[in-house]
């Protein structure tokens, strides 16, 4: 979600667990929950996060929207837990 703790490799497994809990929460009512968002844009605290905002990947790949990242089982992703 918003904070990053990148040096310790445990970071990835910690965040995967947070994402898994999010995935589980979404799965209980996917129709209304998969695309639900709220809160501020962590890169620009004066703006709300929106589904159509593009994610900065530092030029490593083409940018995709927030909406494209919210379903792990469709679109650019294909994974479960």
């Amino acid at each position: 979600m918003t904070n990053l703790y990148l040096l310790d490799p445990l970071f990835f497994l910690h965040h995967a667990q947070l994402d898994r809990i999010w995935f589980t929460w979404q799965s209980r009512d996917p129709t209304t929950r998969v695309l639900q968002l709220s809160g501020k844009d962590s890169n620009n605290a004066t703006e709300l996060m929106m589904l159509e905002k593009l994610l900065d990947v530092g030029g490593l790949d083409k940018q995709i929207s927030v909406a494209q990242t919210l379903n792990t089982r469709a679109g650019v992703f294909c994974y479960a837990y």
Binding site: Y5, L7, L10, L18, R20, G39
Partner: protein
């Protein structure tokens, strides 16, 4: 700890299974895991920790702490067992069941962020403790620099 490693299954650390004594989690095993707590007889390092001196990342060198250029060894510094127990209600299985009952995204993410998300880094400390975006801000350093 539970590994999920079949095709198209993401891997994760289910800390709720370790909430009774997180420092004893197999995740911190020196051989099978990511190495243990910082070594109090080794040099001190960032955020209340000492250098990790066992496991696959022993003495891993980092160039930054947060956005600050600061060469240091991979640091961990667990809070005491008593302090850790006082935070475990934020990430045990009851906590997760509670988070999953939240009715909308706003309440769900607030509970999860201020609960489990922060409890783990503030228990392990060291490099995990930094709460501002570190390497993401450093354009020339991808992940581990």
């Amino acid at each position: 700890m539970k590994w999920k490693n079949t095709n198209n299954r993401d891997r994760y650390w289910d800390w709720s299974l370790d909430s009774a004594n997180i420092e004893e989690s197999p995740l911190f095993d020196a051989y099978y895991g990511f190495g243990s707590n910082g070594n109090s007889t080794a040099s001190s390092s960032v955020a209340f920790g000492h250098c990790v001196t066992d496991g696959p990342f022993a003495m891993l060198q980092a160039l930054y702490f947060g956005a600050e250029a600061k060469r240091h060894c991979l640091s961990r510094g667990f809070i005491s067992k008593e302090e850790a127990r006082s935070k475990s209600h934020l990430y045990n299985s009851e906590a997760i069941h509670g988070y999953l009952k939240e009715p909308d995204f706003d309440s769900f993410y607030r509970m999860l962020e201020f609960g489990a998300h922060n409890a783990i880094p503030s228990t392990i400390r060291g490099d995990f403790f930094m709460v501002t975006a570190p390497y993401g801000l450093c354009k020339n350093n991808l992940l581990y620099g």
